[in-house]
């Protein structure tokens, strides 16, 4: 258990401290909260793990419980105040007879969750709403944030819309069957990384640098060591001096080995300086504050252009002099842009920029590491790439792969943020040194200052076209701020010069890209992965060029968009492994144009101060990364005739465990619920590169398809040999001629005969298909206040066949919500010393229910010949056209181009207001 062990002195209770019991979900507990403890941690120490932490500040609502029937944020409730009162958590929501509460039933019916980290709190709020409050859901759900769903599925649940499909044998693919964990999710039984109690657990906390660039001269630890309960302190002198990259990819060479676990130079404010492990989090934190660090402050540089200049402070000085702070640069040209611009009737050139944003997966980073009785080390962690994390840990600690076990429980959102190994290493170090289990859970503040972000990019675009709109030249110059470390820098830079440029046919294209080290928090993988940044620039520029020529934005795009049969190319002559497995961009554009024209959504607000405009943007995304990517899947028929499926890939709310089961079920003509799935576990599942770059379906799903087909062939092959008749599968049986043999029986017969009902397959990503998305926006902007209201949102997605329509819609809606946040409300603000000023959800504003309008989502009718069962990637691509569509609508409304994200009221005000 992670409460104060008995050997820690308990402060004496004061005379008037309550000694009465605590009723939690109808059970009476007699326990004394630690002084200062909030109800949230008190409940979790009692094993009530349905109560989650998203912020500990009252902003997110993940910790919502009822106190005598009234919802409160348990993180803001001193535990002792619950004495003598009734606390109800998600675990106590259902009636004792085993049925579900109506709200649980509604959330299940609408599958109103993805990672479901918000779900318990969301349901506790919803279940206590009065009818009047239900009339105003935006207001009622103000205090509950969800990063995954875009709130539409939650609204559906509250309106009693149940859309889950029946699980019919052989028909799982294409049906909205529920997640295999749906019941565990709505009852609060689903377990996440930190939802476990272990004997003897130590808690790890790190001290982070207040300086953006400094050399550590000395770290005095005596005062910190003296804090009662402190077990060990680690500084740069105590860690293996091995360089690595925290970024995870199959190919380790695509990221620079520029990081040490702990270093004697800190290169951004928020970087780890030292780690303390102690009996309690409080003791570890107290000790961190007592560490005496002597810093030698070094000059810092935050702007990548300044960092490229000669004489700029060097961030990694072991690198060659001539490259300076430029970590990666890419150049290419096809045709001749000089000729292209010379033959153009109109040229648009402008510099656009996109802002740094954080993933804000509701579950923060965290790991638990321990040495098992089997002599191996086990790491339970919140990651998108457990197998690569394992490789990195073996590398850092010199461990044999067979001695390391890395696994995930449920992962509370990732979005690319967990394509990074940033908590496992220190936990393992401490577990190895102390011999005890060690856990480390990031605070929300650490998530902002010490995890990765989307790369801030500045893009100069120059486009030329003939009078009829035909593009004659595209030129792009991208500067990406990778921050202090270069993980994902070259890959995101590559992606920035990929899809958004290939989407348009043009004989002359030129690109130059630079990823530059600065003393900012490092960039990382983030949904859209570099392509979102330049899609913003190019899609805005296409509109500007269309405006110069007096051409409609839809017509401009149709004139120039890539068509099936075109050679897919960006700005270099290398052939790629990308091809059209299917093509639905035309359908998406038609839909969006039609839906905007038809009207719908909200009317323009009254008053002449409100200006209205519409905008469109498109995006093309390669289904999967250009780097190597592979996945394995393994199936077994079990003695009872059901199946076991093991997949290496992580489920983080993207729905892969649901769709993988569906793929297997449909190939085995079975019901999805006959397949038990385990995933993301280096002991129990075959190797998988990781769930990122939209590979959950096209690579891992492909492996599942292959394994399921092999499983089917194995069963039918044996059945045929056994019965001598032609056989086919039918749910839990094989039908051979006129005979129906149950799979349990067949298993028994086959096993006796020495047959192995097992199959294992690996899939490798190549060829890659392409997915398309088109976003349409109608909005109103208030000229005097700069306020933007999205009135109508429509989206066309070409993601191939829908394995699970409801889930696909959820991925699109979640992406759109994230795109809206990026465009309008989210902003990481820094002071002159490079310290973030708003590392909290109170003022780093991810969209709440009220901020996300419903979107009409349309799916192109395509069937991909490359992806498994016709499906394509879907997890990322929908975000790319959102911000530019909003910016284009804003330009349409105001006649003014706002080239920099986010589109904040004060920026709009500064350009529009009369007295500005």
């Amino acid at each position: 258990m992670n409460h104060t062990p008995a050997d820690q002195p308990q402060p004496a209770p004061t005379a008037d401290a309550p000694r009465n019991g605590y009723t939690i979900n109808g059970k009476l507990y007699f326990a004394e909260p630690q002084p200062g403890q909030c109800l949230r941690t008190f409940l979790r120490e009692r094993g009530v793990f349905g109560v989650k932490k998203g912020c500990d500040q009252g902003d997110c609502g993940a910790c919502t419980v009822w106190l005598d029937g009234t919802p409160v944020h348990s993180c803001l409730m001193p535990a002792f105040r619950a004495a003598g009162r009734e606390v109800t958590t998600v675990e106590g929501l259902a009636p004792p007879d085993g049925s579900l509460h109506p709200v649980q039933q509604a959330f299940l019916g609408a599958q109103a969750f993805q990672c479901s980290f918000c779900t318990a709190g969301m349901m506790m709020t919803c279940a206590a709403l009065t009818d009047a409050q239900k009339e105003d859901m935006p207001q009622a759900l103000k205090g509950n944030l969800c990063r995954c769903t875009g709130y539409r599925a939650i609204a559906d649940a509250m309106h009693g819309r149940a859309e889950i499909a029946e699980d019919i044998a052989g028909e799982a693919c294409g049906a909205s069957v529920p997640s295999p964990l749906a019941h565990a999710i709505v009852t609060g039984e689903a377990r996440y990384t930190m939802d476990v109690a272990m004997e003897g657990m130590l808690h790890l906390k790190v001290l982070r640098s207040p300086h953006a660039h400094a050399r550590i001269r000395a770290i005095g630890r005596d005062r910190a060591m003296a804090v009662p309960g402190v077990a060990a302190i680690f500084t740069w002198e105590d860690v293996p001096r091995r360089l690595y990259s925290t970024a995870t990819h199959e190919d380790h060479l695509v990221d620079p080995d520029d990081s040490y676990m702990l270093d004697n130079v800190v290169r951004f404010a928020g970087q780890r300086v030292a780690a303390v492990v102690a009996e309690t989090e409080a003791a570890a934190e107290a000790a961190c504050r007592l560490l005496e660090v002597e810093y030698e402050i070094l000059p810092a540089v935050f702007d990548p252009v300044a960092a490229m200049a000669p004489g700029a402070p060097r961030i990694h000085d072991e690198r060659g002099e001539e490259r300076g702070n430029i970590y990666a640069d890419i150049h290419g040209e096809i045709g001749s842009v000089a000729e292209g611009f010379a033959s153009a009737d109109a040229v648009h050139e402008m510099t656009y920029s996109t802002s740094r944003v954080q993933h804000v997966h509701l579950e923060t980073h965290g790991s638990i590491a321990w040495q098992g009785e089997d002599g191996r080390v086990h790491i339970r962690t919140s990651t998108q790439a457990p197998f690569i994390a394992k490789q990195k840990l073996c590398h850092l600690f010199g461990l044999r792969p067979s001695d390391v076990h890395v696994f995930t429980e449920r992962v509370g959102g990732g979005f690319g943020g967990k394509q990074e190994m940033i908590s496992e290493d220190l936990c393992l170090l401490a577990a190895l040194k102390t011999g005890r289990p060690v856990q480390w859970e990031f605070t929300r503040e650490e998530q902002f200052i010490g995890a990765t972000t989307r790369h801030q990019m500045t893009t100069r675009v120059k486009l030329g076209a003939r009078r009829d709109g035909t593009l004659t030249a595209i030129e792009l110059h991208v500067v990406s701020n990778t921050g202090a470390y270069g993980g994902h820098a070259s890959e995101t830079l590559g992606a920035s010069l990929g899809g958004p440029m290939t989407a348009y046919r043009c004989p002359n294209k030129k690109a130059a890209g630079y990823a530059v080290y600065t003393n900012m928090v490092p960039g990382g993988g983030f949904r859209g992965y570099g392509s979102s940044q330049t899609a913003f620039a190019i899609e805005c520029a296409i509109d500007e060029l269309a405006r110069l020529l007096g051409i409609d934005p839809f017509a401009m795009r149709r004139k120039n968009m890539i068509l099936p049969g075109d050679w897919i190319e960006s700005a270099w002559n290398d052939p790629s492994d990308v091809d059209f497995g299917s093509y639905g961009l035309d359908q998406c554009l038609d839909f969006v144009e039609g839906a905007l024209a038809k009207g719908g959504g909200l009317p323009k607000p009254e008053g002449e101060e409100w200006a209205e405009g519409t905008g469109v943007a498109l995006a093309m995304l390669e289904c999967g990364p250009p780097t190597e990517h592979r996945s394995g899947a393994q199936m077994r028929l079990l003695p009872d005739g059901s199946y076991h499926l093991a997949v290496g890939s992580t489920e983080m709310g993207n729905g892969s465990i649901t769709s993988h089961r569906q793929i297997a079920a449909s190939l085995l003509s079975a019901r999805a619920d006959r397949i038990a799935i385990v995933n993301a576990d280096t002991d129990l599942a075959p190797y998988d590169t990781g769930t990122f770059a939209s590979t959950g379906t096209v690579v891992a799903g492909q492996a599942v398809r292959m394994a399921a087909e092999a499983m089917r062939d194995s069963i039918l092959g044996f059945a045929r040999r056994h019965t001598g008749a032609d056989c086919r599968l039918d749910d839990n049986a094989v039908i051979c001629g006129n005979e129906r043999v149950g799979l349990a029986e067949l298993y028994a017969i086959g096993t006796r005969a020495g047959h192995h009902f097992e199959a294992k397959r690996k899939s490798y990503l190549s060829l890659r298909s392409v997915a398309f998305n088109v976003q349409g926006i109608r909005l109103a902007v208030h000229r005097a206040t700069g306020e933007i209201r999205i009135l109508h949102s429509v989206h066309g997605a070409d993601i191939g066949r829908l394995i699970n329509p409801m889930q696909c819609r959820g991925q699109i809606e979640g992406s759109i919500a994230m795109g809206i946040g990026w465009a309008l409300t989210e902003q990481m603000v820094y002071d002159a010393e490079g310290r973030m000023v708003n590392p909290a959800l109170r003022n780093y504003r991810i969209p709440s229910y009220a901020d996300v309008p419903p979107t009409e989502v349309f799916f192109a009718d395509t069937y991909d010949r490359i992806g498994p069962l016709g499906a394509k990637s879907q997890g990322e691509c929908a975000i790319n056209p959102v911000a530019p569509a909003i910016a284009n609508a804003l330009a349409d409304a105001t006649g003014v181009r706002f080239p920099h994200l986010p589109l904040l009221p004060d920026r709009i005000f500064a350009k529009l207001a009369p007295h500005a």
Partner: protein, 289 residues
């Protein structure tokens, strides 16, 4: 992230609570709803030795009307204010404002006394106190004293309360006949603290507004009254008068530059709000600002 260790004590009466504060010296702090205190403690932004819990003191809760005065106990929760018929009838400004304070789960715990003692410049409630001409009743080791709202809020998170004093009640003059309230705020995202907000109350008389109190929040280090603009609006309404009043705001307000908005934008929004307020109080259709 758990709060640092400290002890707590439940006070049964205001006297006892005051004694505890006196004994605790600077290391003791009152705990009301905890909705501002706990976030700070969770972040370990403050350290203290003793929390004095005053939620058990029944005398500090409740809303009463006595004569022409509305008396609100300091421990009355936001949620109670929101649903109180007395507040709706006699202090509609407060009823409008409270709907903008945080979200339901916070309103279920947070108290008006805690909010005012916290004195967040972006909060809606201190501005309402100024606009309503509230009197704050305070108890300390040497007995009770009464402080006008205008003398209570001193600056950023600073009030006239001494460390051993307790805000026990708020007294508001009940809405007089003919008086009307205006409340509006601009926020980045629904439910956020305001970039600029305006709480106002006055007595429309024909096309003039008498006894007008204009108080902005989110502008400057504390809620800001604008007597100069209010005086101008006592004249007969005309576009010129409105413009004059809008111009006068520059003298009354000290808007700050921050990552939410520039000072210029804040002043501009304040002027926009003033036009809305005047139009609403005079019952006119919204004209352009």
């Amino acid at each position: 992230m758990k709060a640092a260790a400290f002890n707590y004590a439940r006070a049964a009466s205001v006297d006892e609570a005051v004694q505890m504060l006196v004994r605790g010296g600077g290391g003791a702090k009152l705990l009301a709803g905890g909705q501002s205190l706990l976030p700070a403690l969770n972040l370990r932004l403050m350290s203290l030795d003793l929390l004095v819990d005053i939620t058990g003191i029944a005398a500090l809760r409740g809303i009463r009307v006595e004569g022409g005065t509305l008396k609100i106990g300091a421990m009355t929760r936001h949620a109670d204010l929101l649903t109180s018929p007395e507040i709706a009838a006699h202090a509609p400004l407060l009823a409008k404002a409270i709907a903008h304070v945080a979200h339901p789960a916070i309103r279920n715990r947070g108290t008006i006394g805690g909010n005012l003692a916290h004195a967040d410049p972006a909060s809606e409630l201190p501005a309402c106190m100024l606009a309503l001409g509230a009197t704050l009743v305070i108890q300390g080791p040497s007995g009770q004293r009464r402080v006008q709202a205008a003398d209570f809020f001193l600056g950023l998170y600073q009030t006239a309360l001494a460390p051993d004093e307790i805000l026990i009640a708020i007294e508001l003059p009940a809405l007089a006949s003919g008086e009307r309230a205006f409340f509006h705020e601009y926020a980045r995202r629904m439910g956020d603290y305001a970039i600029v907000g305006l709480a106002a109350q006055g007595k429309p008389a024909g096309d003039r507004i008498d006894a007008l109190r204009l108080v902005y929040f989110g502008v400057g280090e504390r809620a800001g009254s604008c007597p100069a603009a209010a005086r101008i609006l006592q004249q007969r309404h005309s576009p010129a008068i409105l413009a004059e009043a809008q111009a006068a705001l520059a003298a009354d307000l000290q808007p700050q530059n921050d990552h939410q908005a520039s000072a210029a934008m804040r002043l501009h929004l304040a002027r926009t709000l003033l036009a809305r307020c005047v139009n609403e109080l005079l019952g006119r259709a919204e004209a352009s600002a």
